[in-house]
Amino acid sequence: MTLAAFQRAMADLAASPALCGRVREDAEAALAGYALTEVERRRVASAAAQRGMRVNCMLYRSNRLSPLASQLPNTFLLLGPDLRDTADGYWVENPALERNAPTEVRRFAAYVQRRTVEGTLSEPLLPEVLAWEMAVYELALLPRLRILAEAADDAARARTDGPLRLHPLVDVAAFSREPAALLRAFAAKRRPPYDDIPAGEYHLLCDLRGERRAMVPIDAATAAAMLAVRDGENIGEVAAGALIERGLVVAR
């Protein structure tokens, strides 16, 4: 069915300003891979030459970036001038928008993480901010009411000497800058550097047990205990008791 080839060509044009340019220069050669009728070939060539195709290309980029930006706004803030190259590289590896939104967010996050490890993205705060936003995103995906109901029983059974796990609706995030000031900078859409914000080892409790999500600073000992529980380690009865009392852990 040549209609399928026509649709494929139109979708490819919207995804690739470079292909639009090649079609404008030499439609015959650029469209050789598409099994088009003569009318369809003229339509695609005309489309590539119209300013409306530039708008289609912009809409394509916006449609792919907006869902990611809405979930990872501060990661995007930190990407700043690197965003265009990052998006282009990500789309080369992943030409189509993933139908499952969480999968799209996760694979973009994994791509950014990989680029930071490789050193292509050098903003030092990027890994920790991405990790924090992904932790909150994953918690927000969970069916809160059902989990609260299920975890209530596990909370009642939690014992300081028994096997424990983190409450499914909490997580902990590590920061190298004082989080409250950093979040204020993010809220003001202020880009790095953040030299005026105190540096050190900080931790935030990401807590989605309540109606509203809460980001609460916690001390290093509590954070270490939570991370140890998350990793399946034994934390001792005193630390376990403190976490149980705050409802941060439940019976495994």
Binding site: M1, L3, A4, F6, Q7, R8, M10, A11, A14, A15, V39, R42, R43, S46, A47, Q50, R51, G52, M53, R54, V55, N56, M58, L59, Y60, N63, R64, N94, P95, A96, L97, E98, R99, N100, A101, P102, T103, L141, P143, R144, L145, R146
Partner: protein, 313 residues
């Protein structure tokens, strides 16, 4: 018109004539739960994009659809108070090599659950099988060419949808930034022929008409007069903004002023009109003046609704 087509058209017209005349609604914006809870009384109905309430893991997954608890909780709250109509984005009815019957079945389940008096989707394609190994999503909705071959393909699919979902099915006219040459029909001709051939109703997005008229230099009023408005059940009104040298359907804040005039033309001549839906992009909520700004647009739509001719019911 041949006898079979005339019978179908007449039955479809009867179907539209008995629909409830709801009034003024809003396209649901999931990140404004407070607005929805505080101002549900300002709405006669809520239009929802059902696809935004579930995660779709694809046809081979089991189960394929997983509901998003928080969003569904608010939807249940809304549906207990006012009617809800479905406005899907996931069918991609114009895709040449794909017709997603699983999506139709899912819409049918939600129609039964929420009692949509009608449901709708778009006259375009946004899925192209084989784009990559994981997905067929094209990343934007692209209008179908207005050719007879396409009309026949879509008409057969509309009949399938109508067979599975027991309420009228509407298709929405497109916004387009690229004007394809050598199409066999104009857009109004295509809409009228498709509606007569398949029995679908029309969701006339008046802002789409306005956007296309601005960008492609035609008379929006003449376009509206060329459409068989007896098939129009719902209209969309919205605002837009400039991008790349064109005026776009970005839903950027209040309804564009010329759209109100066009809406009056539609209202005067659309005997089966059941609802006016205001669409806005949630990012523009603060720029519109928050809740007050939205309520102002709804009030203006309500004034337009009140100008319907007496026979419109």
């Amino acid at each position: 018109m041949d006898a079979t087509l005339q019978t179908l058209s007449s039955a479809a017209a009867d179907e539209l004539a008995t629909l409830p005349r709801l009034g003024v609604g809003l396209l649901y914006v999931p990140s404004l739960p407070r607005f929805v809870r505080e101002h549900v009384d300002a709405l006669d109905y809520m239009a929802i994009v059902p696809d935004r309430f579930w995660a779709d893991d694809g046809p081979t997954a089991g189960p394929r659809y997983r509901e998003m608890e928080k969003q569904v909780e608010l939807l249940d709250w809304v549906a207990a108070r006012i009617p809800v109509v479905g406005h899907s984005v996931g069918l991609s009815i114009g895709s040449a090599e794909l017709f997603d019957t699983g999506h139709v079945e899912q819409v049918a389940r939600w129609q039964a659950r929420y009692g949509f008096p009608w449901h709708s989707d778009h006259l375009s394609f946004n899925r192209v099988p084989g784009l990559d190994a994981h997905s067929d999503l094209a990343g934007l909705a692209i209008p179908v060419p207005y050719d007879r071959e396409v009309l026949e393909m879509i008409a057969e699919r509309v009949e399938w949808v109508r067979d599975r979902v027991p309420v009228p099915f509407l298709l929405e006219n497109n916004v387009y930034y690229v004007d394809l040459p050598e199409q066999e029909m104009s857009e109004p001709e295509f809409l009228n022929a498709l509606s007569a051939r398949s029995g679908c109703g029309l969701l006339l997005d008046v802002h789409n008409v306005y956007v296309n008229a601005v960008n492609h230099g035609f008379d929006a009023g003449a376009f509206i007069r060329a459409v068989d408005l007896s098939r129009v059940v719902e209209v969309h009104v919205a605002g837009g903004s400039e991008m790349g040298g064109m005026y776009t359907d970005s839903h950027a804040g209040p309804v564009a002023e010329p759209v109100w005039e066009l809406l009056d033309e539609v209202i005067a001549r659309a005997p089966n009109l059941c609802g006016i839906t205001f669409e806005f992009e949630e990012g523009y909520f603060p720029l519109m003046g928050g809740a007050e700004g939205v309520l102002r647009e709804l009030q203006r739509a309500r004034q337009a609704w009140a100008r319907r001719p007496p026979a419109a019911g």
